[in-house]
Amino acid sequence: MDIERQRSAPVYEALERFRKQRVVPFDVPGHKRGRGNPELVKLLGEQCVSLDVNSMKPLDNLCHPVSVIYEAEQLAADAFGAAHAYFMVGGTTSAVQSMILTACKAGDKIILPRNVHRSVINALVLCGAIPVYVNPDVDNHIGIALGMETSLVEKAMIDNPDAVAVLINNPTYYGICSDIRSIVTLAHKHNMLVLADEAHGTHLYFHEKLPVSAMEAGADMAAVSMHKSGGSLTQSSLLLLNDTVNTRYVEQIINLTQTTSASYLLLSSLDISRRNLALRGHESFEKVSSMAEYARSEINSIGGYYAYGKDIVNGGSIFDYDVTKLSVYTRDMGLTGIEVYDLLRDEYDIQIEFGDIGNILAYISIGDRIQDIERLVGALEDIKRLYSHEPSRQHNAEYITPIVAATPQKAFYSDKELVPIRETAGRICGEFVMCYPPGIPILAPGEQITEEIIDYILYAKEKGCSMQGPEDPDISKLNVLK
């Protein structure tokens, strides 16, 4: 990485130059630097609305970057150790879908773990690829789905020599990493591309003590959520490529679904955040890691909570652990994660990232201060004092092995009927069911419904998880294939 070059921010600088030129706008957006919408200016501020401008020659165009956006993307590629980088304005969802649509055509097979984000399976619905699931290992104590055992990935490759790609979470929402280096070596031996979902991995690129990043491991493509640990605005993201992928084809794929009116608020936030990460990322993530470690040790000393860290690494399905994550297992206190999540928000004014059946995840980032960590720990201690009770062991597992009966695309477009959920066992599901967050499907289109899955869905709903996916918002009925 060329540090001197990283000090510049081409998109941001072009916007500054443009502002000083005081160009009279007879183009979109129609609010004309906010003058046509004073209430919006009051809410967002003059500075913010004046940056909301159209693509034009001095500011480049995201659909076909040739000047400042192109330079900014090159700087991003350099900062992340990639051959190419694309600024994405449709969330990491758009980066994930671009990877899959690049790698797979209709009928192609792709090897992936089942605990993927919904955007992955959505991409399969779009392109008609066939998922080959590698069952992630499940930790029986904390109940969460882990990474993929390398040997199981290799078996899937041998069993499916016609597969075109492997997709890896690096890391999972909970911070768990598979052995991505070994998987890359195997995949390339079998002529398969490696796609990494790094929605939770931006920071891996900026600290050597964190798990290895996808680009460093030699993966072919990576979708990186700059807006999570990278500090850019929500909905902005990066797609990274190694030199093994045809950039012209990737650009065509991106432009299939990308807006032609990309927001300069998002683009400039990507540019500035990349600069910040390149110049100060190492120092920031050192601090984030030490705050998370401090929080872990304090939470573990309360008793009753289990804040896991590097101690769960097992060399296989947990090849490495991202220590900036603060995941806490809560069931030993008789409380589900979602109950603790709700108590923290309703009683203590603390909003954490998510709670599932057994765990909570607090997101620690470059914006946190140690006194906020003290509040979180203090609140968890108070929750233990006031709300803990005898643990019940019902429904510990967050992961149920799916039975794929049809491809996601076929199931999605088949004729379906709405059936009361209790009567759906044995039928093939036509839609997604998931708790959001974390947004990992419990059921995906094309999967067979079982009693175990129905019990899990109803239990999660009763415990207050926000359920998404089905047409029926109550989830009292599900769409199944006729």
């Binding site: 309360i302 203590y348 004014d349 006194q371 906020d372 003290e374 720990v377 203090g378 609140a379 004092r385």
Partner: protein, 289 residues
């Protein structure tokens, strides 16, 4: 020279104090601290641009936050002061001989240092041999403490700045746990007058009355506070601030005060109608839950 310090009490109300000179300005990990000399309020200290105390009116809250609980609790031995790095609260506490130990937990070392330099009259309270000054986050200090204190005084004033953690349910819960079975906690309750302060004031009462069986509010007039009107919270496991007031015992001590009297003690709990109403609203909301 026309040299003024101004503090916005709301977006539309500004309090200004003519300044003679600025004596100090530095930013710690927690706050920016400034010290000024002024003709009207004498020397005063500000944190992030808000007046924390002035020589002219600090006696009011130091007396009100110490003597009120001390005149009620019959046997205070162990006291915890959260914040209070200036030493004013410790100074008032040091007049009571039965107190055996006082922990003053102030996270900001710079704050203590500045007060020692510019407000020696306050900080001499920290020199009492019974006082330990601990530079640690208040919530962190309280963690794991159980059944140790007879009195906890939360001397922090700002529910939004770096002391925000001391106005939370987890803080009140931690204090409850750290207090003995007849313990009392008093705390700065803010000012209820301006709209934007009202919600913070309500929230404090809501949280305290949820954590403690007895939770009352009392008042004082402090000119440098927003609207000049300030409230304190009295949260207690056993003693009632009025029914258990032992005026005779307290007056027999012969302590010299400028603000507090046992008559004022009773009067301070008699609140204006609008304050009574908003507190009762929070109590009712609490019962419904």
């Amino acid at each position: 020279m026309d040299f003024w310090f101004s503090e916005m009490h709301t977006g539309n109300v500004k309090m200004s104090i003519r300044v003679d000179k600025q004596l100090f300005s530095e930013t710690s990990d927690f706050q920016r601290i400034d010290v000024f000399d002024s003709p009207e309020f004498g020397r005063f200290l500000t944190s992030d641009g808000s007046v924390i105390f002035s020589e002219q009116d600090e006696f009011t809250y130091d007396e009100m936050i110490v003597h009120v609980p001390m005149a009620v609790h019959p046997n205070v031995r162990n006291v915890l002061v959260i914040g209070g790095g200036d030493g004013g609260v410790a100074r008032e506490l040091s007049h009571y001989e039965e107190i055996e130990h006082i922990d003053v937990v102030e996270p900001d070392e710079l704050f203590v240092k500045v007060c020692r330099e510019f407000f020696p009259d306050n900080s001499k309270g920290l020199d009492d041999p019974r006082v330990s000054v601990i530079n640690r986050d208040g919530l962190r200090f309280l963690r794991g403490k159980q059944d140790e204190y007879d009195l906890i005084i939360n001397d922090s004033t700002d529910p939004f700045g770096h002391t925000a953690g001391l106005f939370t349910k987890e803080f009140y819960g931690s204090c409850y746990k750290a207090l003995r079975s007849d313990g009392i906690m008093v705390y700065q309750h803010g000012s209820p007058f301006f709209d934007e302060d009202e919600e913070a004031c309500r929230a404090m009462h809501r949280k305290a009355s949820k954590s403690f069986p007895i939770s009352r509010v009392y008042q004082a007039h402090i000119p440098t506070c927003p609207s000049g009107y300030w409230l304190f919270g009295f949260a207690s496991k056993k003693y009632h601030p009025l029914h258990d007031l032992d005026a005779k015992r307290w007056n027999a001590r012969g302590l010299k005060t400028w603000y507090y009297t046992t008559n004022l003690h009773t009067g301070a709990f008699m609140l204006p109608k609008y304050v009574e109403d908003l507190l009762e609203e929070e109590e009712r909301a609490e019962k419904k839950l």
